[in-house]
Amino acid sequence: MREQSFIVATYSDADSLLRAVETVRSENFSVYDVFAPYPIHGLDHAMGVRRSRLPWVTFIIGMAALAGALVLQFYTAVLDWPLNVGGKPNNSTLAFLPVTFELTVLLGGLSTVAALFIKGRLYPGKKERLIAEGVTNNKFALVLRKKDASFDTRRARQLLEQSGADRVQEKEAEL
């Protein structure tokens, strides 16, 4: 990733940040990101973040695991090594359900978490890039990106300064 130019406004409470997001969005600035110590309710809507599609990963991998588990049990119990256990039929589909359920949950869950790590670019050993001090403790940061020359830096600063920010600064950073 290369360095980009940002305008960073930091706040001490979530309510001012939320109002500031609404204001800058109403003036057609797009919010690059918000950094906060906890997920702020209503911010998804205010920022215009689309609802995550990660549950699809759960669904698709879960279904694949379900099919795979049934196939594994059918193959081992009916085709590869049929064994008479208490006179039960080789294909005892009902008795295969608990293992099928467990594998569906296991692989569905693990794949969803893996997808979150991939989408959020989280991996062990990654060096954290904090845009402002205290965003994992008690500060909230609203970040706008200066995309190109048409970005109205003066107006953006003005909006943020009047929004109750503790501090507004321009930064070059990698995020």
């Binding site: 409470d13 979530a14 309510d15 939320l18 109002r19 204001t23 990101d33 950094f35 906060a36 110590p37 906890y38 997920p39 702020i40 309710h41 998804d44 920022m47 973040v49 995550s52 990660l54 549950p55 759960t58 049990q73 081992t76 119990a77 590869d80 090594w81 256990v85 039960k88 005892s92 295969f96 608990p98 293992v99 359920f101 467990e102 594998l103 949950v105 296991l106 869950g109 693990l110 969803t112 978490v113 979150l116 959020g120 670019r121 989280l122 991996y123 062990p124 050993g125 060096k127 954290e128 845009i131 205290g134 965003v135 994992t136 403790n137 008690n138 909006l159 009047q162 929004s163 995020l175």
Partner: protein, 481 residues
């Protein structure tokens, strides 16, 4: 220069025009965000107190004892236990079922209460999940050491092999157990870790350097508080909670099928899955109460683990205790009404036979004790709750012992009857499993954040709560704090 007007957000009002219910408060006082971080991170940064060292010393001694006992067991074989031809499952499987049950409360608190949006879970979910993981570890140990040849334990997994290929028997509840317990352990571990990532990042940013900084940096995966990640993170937490909810119900149901699918009187009954799940949650809440009362006293976290939390947990304990009592009654009723002479004899033997004292101890702890929790005074008396929680644990251990040993010792033919007497090794391993559990838990509260800081910050009055109070009410509270 144009001026910007900020329209005030509609605030829920306490006043004449609109009456709103005050949202319940789950943290005492009105701590600022950095106070929450300080309060929860402080126990990890200072030196542990005397109380912690005493508890740890006892637990670690029990763990060492476990190591010695298991070494002896593996060297000599399971003949060192009191098992015999009549009673082939005793302390080992009792402990297994007991510990799996303990774990269930953790998942109930972290997953099911998340789906029900119960905010009181936020202070206790982290430690309850940790309890789940350590309890399931203790549980998983028992089938392993019961095998006689634990070095062949991997035979329980289906893998292509040169023995036929001889696959596991997927129709057997014992194989279902393998899948249920491993899935439960894995998903609980992932859920627990995922919930901790933001807090690990907070600790990383607090750490001045050295090994702590390196470890927290490695574990926090570069988390930087981005809301785009938060949005995904919350969805994933919900998905995992949705998966963990049926999972936890399935685990003890499957454990109960180890018994229910056999023909032994006292085991062969369809009531077992719901009965075991209710018992699991009951015993688990007993253990959560024990642990949280110890930690809130030794770690001085009374502000976050309040009497209201203890009250809620006591209510769940009481409810599930009554479900368990109802199941006991149903079992006796069906034994009488069903007309099966073996079943009938089993229940007469349970209440009047040589192990009757275990049965009455179980009734005392699981039927009578929860009835003491009807008054609020009882539910908010810490010392009383601590005693109740210990009683619950004792009662549930004996419930499993009664189900397993009393059923086996007089099954069908009187010529096959026998008695089980525990040996020193049986008792030593039981105590040792508590050592393993408490050692893990005490280390956990020393090195990892035992309360979810970010969740507390989300509910503590910088969001929903503050907005619901009128300004002067909020000021009053701040002044009061």
């Amino acid at each position: 220069m144009s001026t910007i007007t900020f329209t005030p957000r509609p605030v829920a009002i306490g006043g004449a025009e609109a009456e709103v219910l005050r949202p319940p408060r789950w943290v005492d006082g009105n701590p600022a965000l950095h106070d929450i971080t300080d309060d929860i991170a402080r126990p990890l940064e200072g030196k542990p107190g005397k109380g912690w060292w005493i508890c740890f010393g006892i637990a670690f001694a029990a763990l060492l004892n476990l190591g010695g006992m298991i070494t002896w067991l593996i060297a000599k074989g399971i003949g060192v236990w009191g098992l015999n031809n009549s009673v082939g499952w005793a302390f080992d499987i009792t402990n297994f079922v007991f510990w799996v049950g303990i774990g269930h409360a953790g998942t109930l608190i972290s997953a099911i209460l998340l789906l029900f949006r119960q905010q009181w879970r936020t202070s206790i979910n982290r430690s309850a999940e940790a309890m789940t993981i350590f309890a399931v570890l203790c549980a998983a140990m028992f089938p392993g050491i019961h095998m006689g040849r634990p070095w062949d334990a991997f035979f329980i997994f289906p893998y292509p092999n040169m023995r036929g290929p001889l696959w596991v028997n997927f129709r057997s509840p014992l194989v279902w157990d393998v899948f249920a317990i491993s899935t439960y352990l894995t998903i609980s571990l992932v859920f627990w870790y995922l919930g901790m990532i933001p807090d690990l990042a907070t600790l990383r940013d607090r750490a001045k350097g050295g090994i702590k900084k390196i470890a927290f940096r490695l574990l926090s995966l570069g988390w930087n508080g981005s809301h785009r990640t938060w949005a995904r993170y919350e969805i994933v937490s919900l998905v995992l909670a949705g998966l963990a909810t049926p999972l936890v119900l399935s685990v003890h149901s499957i454990v109960s099928m180890d018994f229910a699918t056999s023909l032994i009187p006292g085991w062969h009954t369809t009531i077992f899955p719901p009965y075991f799940v209710a018992g699991a949650i009951y015993s688990g809440f007993g253990m959560v109460l024990t642990l949280l009362i110890i930690t809130r006293q030794t770690m001085h976290l009374e502000r976050y683990i309040t009497l209201r939390h203890l009250d809620m947990m006591a209510k769940v304990t009481m409810l599930t205790g009554m479900i368990v009592s109802y199941a006991y009654l149903t079992e006796f009723f069906v034994a009488w009404y069903g007309g099966n002479i073996y079943e009938k004899y089993h229940f007469i033997n349970r209440a009047t036979g040589p192990y009757a004292w275990c049965f009455y101890l179980m009734v005392l702890c699981n039927v009578v004790t929860p009835q003491l929790l009807w008054t609020k005074k009882a539910r908010t008396n810490v010392a009383f709750l601590f005693i109740v929680s210990i009683m619950v644990n004792i009662g549930m251990w004996f419930e499993r012992f009664v189900i397993i040993v009393v059923s086996l010792h007089r099954a069908f033919l009187p010529s096959g009857w026998g008695m089980f007497y525990p040996t020193k090794i049986d008792i030593g391993i039981l105590i040792g499993s508590f050592g393993l559990f408490f050692t893990c838990f005490l280390l956990f509260i020393r090195v990892l954040p035992m309360i979810a800081m970010w969740e507390i910050k989300g509910v503590v009055g910088h969001g929903a709560h503050k907005m619901a109070l009128s300004d002067d009410e909020a000021d009053k509270e701040t002044a009061h704090a």
